[in-house]
Every structure is written in structure tokens, then in C-alpha cells.
């Protein structure tokens, strides 16, 4: 050691407590979910003591007509909302990326707006609007409301993809006798495809998982899965809820992984 050696507190990598905190964090985040999933396979109805592995609750859930119906509604709403919001977001994002006009920042803020507002406020405000114009509360009202707040979620991955897009490519296409529409289909769209798909998947999950807006803007015939689960939870804890919840968890995680994979694959694929 050099003359006048001093105690070196050391590399932050090895600071005491850091690993402990991180482990606690991940444990805190994942343990409850893990327990939930575990209990869904519990034979016992009491759901506290483990008595044996069983798929009964899943079977029971599958035979639950109300559950199946609400799942169907969820899928219909999520699919339509995702398709609509992604299309709108794609059109807007492609123009916003290569254009400059007065008020552009305002438009950008407008698109991000649903992300910043508390959902309870937008939900009741939308309810009031629908009731004022006489729109019946049902699948249509829910789809409309979902489409709106899905737009920013679809927009984000598409914009990220566009930031990686070389605008010279569009000039090159024009130089090579490609009319603007042709450029859009032969150059812009193929290169944006991963971002668009990622956005669509994201919008889908957000719609699928939504509760607050659906609760206030939906009617009797538009019960979605989260609404149904909420109703069940109000009644009390039941392993059937565990089973349905686990299924929802797996679907969400699968879709998120898909979305991230689409994004990451693109980063390694081009340039």
C-alpha cells in the first residue's frame, strides 16, 4: 500500500446493504404474486394451508359462464381498442416525426395527456359526457373510452422506432421514383412494423387490464374480466379468484415479454 494509506470505502458495487435492499425489493414485489399463484393450485378452499396440488379451481373457473362472458368482452374490447388506437397513433406519429409546425409541442402534450391525468377523473368526466349526449353505456362506450387512453401507449413504441429512422431513406425512395404513398408502404411501414406491433400489444394489455374507466363507463352487458374479478373480490376471497387472477397474470406477462422482444429484436436487427 502507498505511504499514507487511507481506508477506501470501496466500490459502490459492494456497499453493505445494497444487495440486501435489492433482494428485499424483488422479494417484496414478487412474493405476493408468487403466493397468489401458488394458492391457486391449492386443493384446500381455505387457501391458507397447503393441502395438495389441484387444478380444480381452474376447471371450475372455465365452467363459469359469467367468467367466460366477461373474458369474451375483455378480448373484444381490447382487440378493437388496440387496433383503432394503434392505427391512429401510427398515422399521427409518422407525421409528427418528420414535420415541424406551430403548436406541435401542444399536440405532443395532448397525446401524452391521458397518461398524466388520474383515471378516476377522466372516467367520471367521460361518463358525464356520454350521459349528456345520450350515448348508451355498453360495449361501444367502453371501446371509445379505451381507444382514447390507449393512444399514448401505442404512440410511445412507435415514436421510439421513428427516432431510429433515418429520414434520408424517404428522400432516397423519392429519388428512386417512389411516389409518397409508395414510400409509405415500401419503406416507412416495413421499417416501423416492430414498433407498431409493440404498440399494439401494449395497447392491448392496457385495455385488457383496465378497471376504473370500464367500471364507470360500462353498462350491464359490458362486464369485462377485471370488473368481474372485482365483483368476486368484494364478495370474499376464493380460490376461484386466485385461479382467474393467475391466468390474467400469465397473459399480461406473456404479452409484455412479446412487446419487449419485438422492440429489442429491432435494435439488434438494423443498423
Amino acid at each position: 500500500m502507498a505511504i499514507g494509506a487511507r481506508t477506501h470505502p470501496g466500490d459502490p458495487r459492494h456497499w453493505p446493504g445494497l444487495v440486501f435492499m435489492a433482494i428485499s425489493f424483488f422479494a417484496y414485489v414478487y412474493l405476493p404474486i408468487a403466493i397468489l399463484i401458488g394458492l391457486s393450485f391449492n386443493e384446500n378452499e381455505q387457501a391458507t394451508i397447503w393441502t395438495g396440488f389441484s387444478l380444480d379451481w381452474y376447471v371450475k373457473a372455465l365452467h363459469n359462464d359469467d367468467m367466460i362472458n366477461s373474458a369474451k368482452n375483455s378480448l373484444i374490447i381490447a382487440t378493437i381498442a388496440s387496433l383503432l388506437s394503434t392505427s391512429l397513433a401510427t398515422l399521427a406519429a409518422t407525421r409528427m416525426a418528420f414535420d415541424r409546425f406551430r403548436g406541435q409541442t401542444a399536440v405532443g402534450a395532448l397525446i401524452a395527456l391521458p397518461l398524466t391525468l388520474p383515471e378516476i377523473v377522466t372516467a367520471v368526466a367521460t361518463l358525464m359526457l356520454f350521459s349528456l349526449i345520450g350515448l348508451p353505456l355498453g360495449l361501444t362506450s367502453v371501446i371509445l373510452a379505451h381507444t382514447v387512453f390507449c393512444i399514448p401507449f401505442a404512440y410511445l413504441p412507435i415514436k421510439a422506432q421513428l427516432d431510429r429512422f433515418d429520414p434520408k431513406l424517404m428522400e432516397a425512395a423519392g429519388d428512386l421514383y417512389s411516389k409518397p404513398i409508395q414510400t409509405f408502404f415500401f419503406v416507412t411501414l416495413p421499417l416501423l412494423a416492430p414498433g407498431i406491433m409493440s404498440g399494439a400489444v401494449l395497447a392491448f394489455i392496457i385495455s385488457l387490464d383496465d378497471f376504473v374507466t370500464t367500471f364507470f363507463v360500462g353498462g350491464a352487458g359490458s362486464t369485462t374480466l377485471p370488473i368481474y374479478i372485482f365483483g368476486l373480490i368484494r364478495v370474499g376471497v376464493s380460490p376461484e379468484v386466485n385461479a382467474i387472477s393467475t391466468v390474467m397474470l400469465i397473459i399480461s406477462i406473456a404479452m409484455v415479454s412479446l412487446s419487449l422482444l419485438l422492440n429489442r429484436g429491432q435494435e439488434r436487427g438494423d443498423d
Partner: protein, 307 residues
């Protein structure tokens, strides 16, 4: 051939064309957002200034501040006003719970972000992924997991009783405690990610230099790392505090009727309590509160950035 001046005529023609394309591409998304986000909000403010009719909906045209008066006063049958602290209490609870949640998230989130930022690059992507996954799963389901854990017959109580720490099960559910646990649980990733993003860009040689200059860990933390991560810390605080204020699901599931937050109160006005103007006023109040919080955080950053 005369020297044609392209500039003016062509500029204007191209300008008009550009706006036509913008209307076709950006227009639809913008229209939807204006019609189904801005318009409802405007309507809400307008309704908050209307009178309530017997069924709870709106009497149009009679402007009144009744809804706002209702925040702190209760109108008795003889039209006199009596002070009513119930709603104020709910606002206060929301505020403090959100603050508490932000603080706890910061306490747990900062070391976690630091941990991730100091791992080898290959690990980081996986760790970040693991951190974000819960965000995408259903909020109901995540809060339900805590109902399972915190209830009287849940594993926590069972475990504590087994160990002999307690005789009777602790009533953890449907309390402020349960709600804060649930809120922290729901919003923790929002704190970790921005701080991590800020730290990832930090030059860790500054930390080394700090040690070189005889600083202790604590001093290094305070003088070097926290300022470097400060924008991320602010972002994280906003990302936790703001949604917390307006949260609905967590207090509904884990707080029951006893630990209501503003979100639930608003929802109630459109459900059992049926008072649309009041609900609208509450919504407007929540929005204002959120705007003020964001402004507060944002303006607190400026002076810090010049350190």
C-alpha cells in the same frame, strides 16, 4: 423567359397542402383526444358549477357554488351551514398517504436503482425487465394478493400466531396501513426506473474521485450520487405521488369503507351517493391538487440543478 418568383405563391400552396396532410394524419388522433379527454374535463368543470337535482344529476343553467361549499360545509335542512370535516379528512388522508408512499418508495427504490446500475451491463437489462413486469400485470390482481396476505386468516397472521408473537390475529386489512402497503406495492417500479435511468448515465469515476479525496460513503452519497441522480429522483417522486393521489383500486380493495381516498370519494358521487356536481367539483379539486404538486416538484428542481 420572365423570372418567376417561386417563393410566395409556391410557399403558400405548399403550406396549405401540408396542413391538409396534417389534418388527415394527426387530425383523427388529436380529435379523439380533444373530444374524449379535454371536452369531458371542460364539461366536468361546468357541471361542478351547477345545481344538483333530486336524483343526483344536473339542473342545467342554475349556476351555484353549492358543490364547492360541500367540501367543508354541510347544508342542514333549514338551509344553515355546519362545518363538516369528513371530506377534508379524506383529502388529508390522500395527501399524507401519497407522501408516505413516495417516501417509502424512495427509501426502497433508491438502493435498488443503485444496485441495478452497478451490476454488469448484461444483468441490467434483465433486472430492469424484472422490475417493469409487475407494472404491466393487473392492478386488481396485485392488490388482491395483499388481501390474501393481510387478512385475519392470511399467512402473515397465521405465521405470527405460530411463532407466538401474537394471540389474536392483527386487523391489518381495511386500514390506512393496508392501503399504504398496497400503494407502495403498486407504484414502486415507477420510482426505481427513473432513478436507475439517471444513475446509468452517471460517471462512476466521480465516486472514485470522491473517495480519493477522503470522503466517507455517506458524504459521497450525499454530495456526488444524489445530485447526479436528482432529476431521476424528482421524476420518480412525481410518478409515484401523482397517481397515488388519484388512486381508486387500492383504497377500494384494501381500505374498505374506512380508509377512503379522494378517488373513492369521487367514484361514490357517481354511484351510491349520486351527486354529480359534487363529484365534478371533487374531480376538479383533485386535478388542481395534482397540478400544484407537479409545479412544486418541478420548481424545486431548478434551484437544485444549479448546485
Amino acid at each position: 423567359m420572365p423570372d418567376t418568383d417561386n417563393s410566395d405563391r409556391l410557399e403558400r400552396k405548399r403550406g396549405r397542402e401540408a396542413w391538409r396532410v396534417r389534418a388527415f394524419t394527426i387530425g383523427p388522433a388529436a380529435a379523439m383526444l380533444i373530444l374524449l379527454t379535454l371536452l369531458p374535463l371542460g364539461l366536468m368543470v361546468y357541471i361542478s358549477l351547477q345545481e344538483r337535482d333530486w336524483s343526483g344529476s344536473v339542473i342545467w343553467g342554475n349556476y351555484s357554488f353549492e358543490a364547492y361549499i360541500r367540501f367543508i360545509f354541510e347544508r342542514k335542512l333549514d338551509d344553515s351551514l355546519q362545518l363538516n370535516a369528513d371530506y377534508v379528512r379524506i383529502f388529508a388522508r390522500s395527501f399524507w398517504l401519497s407522501l408516505l408512499t413516495t417516501g417509502l418508495s424512495l427509501l426502497v427504490g433508491f438502493p435498488t436503482a443503485l444496485f441495478i446500475a452497478t451490476r454488469p451491463p448484461r444483468w441490467r437489462a434483465t433486472l430492469v425487465f424484472l422490475t417493469t413486469v409487475p407494472f404491466w400485470t393487473n392492478l386488481l390482481v396485485r392488490n388482491y394478493a395483499w388481501i390474501l396476505l393481510l387478512r385475519d386468516t392470511g399467512p402473515i397472521n397465521a405465521g405470527l400466531q405460530e411463532l407466538g408473537v401474537i394471540d389474536e390475529p392483527l386487523a391489518m386489512l381495511y386500514t390506512n396501513f393496508a392501503v399504504s402497503v398496497g400503494l407502495t406495492y403498486s407504484f414502486l417500479p415507477f420510482m426505481v426506473l427513473p432513478i436507475y435511468a439517471a444513475m446509468e448515465k452517471m460517471d462512476f469515476r466521480l465516486v472514485e474521485a470522491s473517495f480519493d479525496l477522503y470522503a466517507t460513503r455517506l458524504q459521497t452519497l450525499w454530495q456526488v450520487m444524489i445530485p447526479a441522480a436528482w432529476p431521476g429522483i424528482i421524476a420518480g417522486c412525481i410518478l409515484v405521488f401523482v397517481p397515488c393521489l388519484g388512486s381508486y383500486v387500492t383504497p377500494a380493495l384494501l381500505g374498505g369503507g374506512k380508509s377512503m381516498m379522494v378517488g373513492n370519494l369521487i367514484g361514490l358521487q357517481f354511484g351510491a351517493a349520486r351527486n354529480w356536481p359534487f363529484g365534478a367539483a371533487l374531480g376538479f379539486a383533485l386535478l388542481t391538487l395534482i397540478l400544484l404538486s407537479m409545479l412544486f416538484y418541478v420548481f424545486k428542481v431548478r434551484p437544485e440543478e444549479n448546485r
